[in-house]
């Protein structure tokens, strides 16, 4: 019986267990039937997340297909993460956070120039991580689409006002993703320091895969 609280509630055998350092990319292949748990180790750390079908990476996560299919913008326990061809890729089997974002996208050097000013162009950004990881497998800029931001909070007000606000996550909170097909997971552990998505202090997250 493990005493590691981050493994609590997981069944099966741990086949992969990694710490993603603050600001770093991560790429991993998760087989159909396996579960990926992401642990927000220190709290309020946005985990920018993309999925590709391992067999055919032109099929990939689609934020729009996912939210249209459930008629709701927020990703909660039970949400099916769908591909651009409408197929289930992963399911949020459990999460100790109320909801996660998929409309806020990923920070980039270029969008940072719009949001904060040109003085931020040289800062590290999620699209840099997505590119670095995807380039290892032959994917590139055309393969980067609207992503998920686990542990990030983007409310929409009645007048349409929208923004990244203080997180609803906390140290040790988790999301468990059940793979419905063989998927390639590409993550950017968000390095953003100009908005509250990481509490202005990027921190490590833990990735645990069970089979």
């Amino acid at each position: 019986m493990s005493t590691d609280p981050h493994l609590s509630g997981l069944t099966g055998t741990v086949v992969h267990d990694a710490i993603v350092p603050a600001r770093a990319p991560w790429l991993h292949h998760v087989a159909a039937g396996q579960t990926l748990r992401i642990v927000d180790l220190e709290g309020n750390q946005a985990v920018d997340f993309l999925l590709y079908s391992t067999d055919d990476d032109a099929e990939r996560y689609s934020a729009q297909d996912t939210v249209a299919a459930q008629g709701n913008l927020f990703l909660r326990e039970g949400t099916v993460l769908r591909s651009n061809e409408g197929r289930p890729m992963m399911t949020i089997a459990a999460t100790s956070v109320d909801y996660h974002d998929t409309i806020g996208g990923a920070c980039s050097c270029e969008s940072n120039t719009l949001r904060y000013g040109h003085h931020t162009k040289s800062e590290h950004a999620c699209v840099e991580n997505f590119l670095e990881a995807n380039l290892l497998e032959g994917r590139g800029k055309r393969d980067i689409v609207s992503n998920i931001n686990f542990f990030m909070n983007v409310p929409v007000e009645p007048d349409g006002s929208l923004g990244i606000v203080d997180g609803i996550s906390a140290p040790g909170l988790t999301v468990d993703l059940h793979a419905e097909m063989d998927v390639t997971v590409v993550v950017s552990n968000c390095p953003q320091i100009n908005n509250p998505c990481n509490g202005f202090n990027p921190t490590p997250v833990r990735m645990i895969v069970t089979a």
């Binding site: 032109a58 249209a68 061809e85 996208g105 980039s108 969008s111 055309r142 929409v156 929208l162």
Partner: protein, 274 residues
């Protein structure tokens, strides 16, 4: 009929006899439009086409071009992809579009932003106000579930399949069909995240005008909105008109409306500094 077309010249004559046929949904060449704005010269008209219900169209537009869309009968849904025409790896980014503008809804004065921190097109007129950045479009599977059929070759083609064909005409691939925006059919977002479709049908003739801020390739699919609650596949033709116009000047009110938008225009101007 078979007998008279039994030789190539008869087939040629049969084909040529079709010339001059006019149908509801077709391009007009050279373009003619009797309802251009008063300050637009007839010789500046570039494109006049009515896209069929379930159809699509794609075109390269030069920086400064105005693109007017008219929901002729009140039930069109213009799903839109945008690419930088000279570097198609740069394309519309719906997440940046809503995040950078701090707002979920498109309309007059709003910008359609690329993934490179630049503005691809801006809304210089909007007579509709019901648009959608979130739901994307139908695909073969969703149409098959909803209408019993969803293929390009069947009666109920999907928006994604139309996008695939439209993008392919410019040499693009499946991986290039990116998240889209929907014009004329809208959504509102409730506090709990619920997506409330605004499908109409609306009064005929609602129009909007987009201004190309860069050289762009537009791909427009006119298929029912993916959250259209009606059981029947319902969509009506979409009229498209484009004319030449000047590049956005420094004092343009949309260019200077917000600090974020101004920087998007400055990034465009920097890109074209060559």
């Amino acid at each position: 009929m078979t007998a008279t077309l039994a030789n190539p010249l008869a087939a040629r004559d049969h084909a040529r006899a079709m010339a001059g046929t006019v149908v509801d949904a077709m391009p007009v060449l050279p373009p003619v439009a009797d309802d251009l704005p008063a300050d637009v010269a007839a010789e500046d008209l570039l494109w006049e086409e009515t896209i069929a219900a379930g159809g699509y169209a794609t075109r390269r537009l030069k920086r400064g071009t105005r693109l007017r869309l008219i929901d002729v009968k009140g039930d069109a849904c213009a799903s839109l992809l945008l690419f930088n025409a000279e570097m198609t790896a740069e394309r519309l980014n719906v997440a940046d579009t809503v995040k950078v503008q701090w707002n979920a809804y498109l309309g007059q004065g709003k910008l359609l932003l690329s993934d490179m921190g630049r503005v691809l097109m801006s809304f210089i007129e909007d007579g509709a106000g019901t648009h959608d950045c979130f739901s994307g479009t139908s695909n073969a599977a969703t149409n098959a579930t909803k209408y019993g059929e969803g293929s390009n070759s069947g009666p109920f083609p999907s928006g994604r399949d139309r996008f695939l064909l439209g993008a392919a005409k410019y040499g693009l691939q499946r991986r290039d069909v990116h998240p889209c925006v929907n014009l004329f059919k809208g959504t509102a977002i409730a506090a709990d995240g619920t997506i409330e479709p605004k499908i109409g049908p609306y009064e005929p003739g609602r129009a909007l005008v987009l201004r190309a801020e860069m050289d762009v390739i537009v791909v427009i699919a006119n298929c029912p909105h993916v959250l259209d609650p009606r059981d029947n596949w319902t969509v009506t033709p979409l009229r498209v008109t484009a004319w030449r116009g000047p590049v956005t000047p420094p004092d343009d009110p949309i260019r200077i409306a917000t600090p974020e938008g101004l920087r998007a225009f400055q990034n465009v101007e920097d890109y074209f500094r060559r």
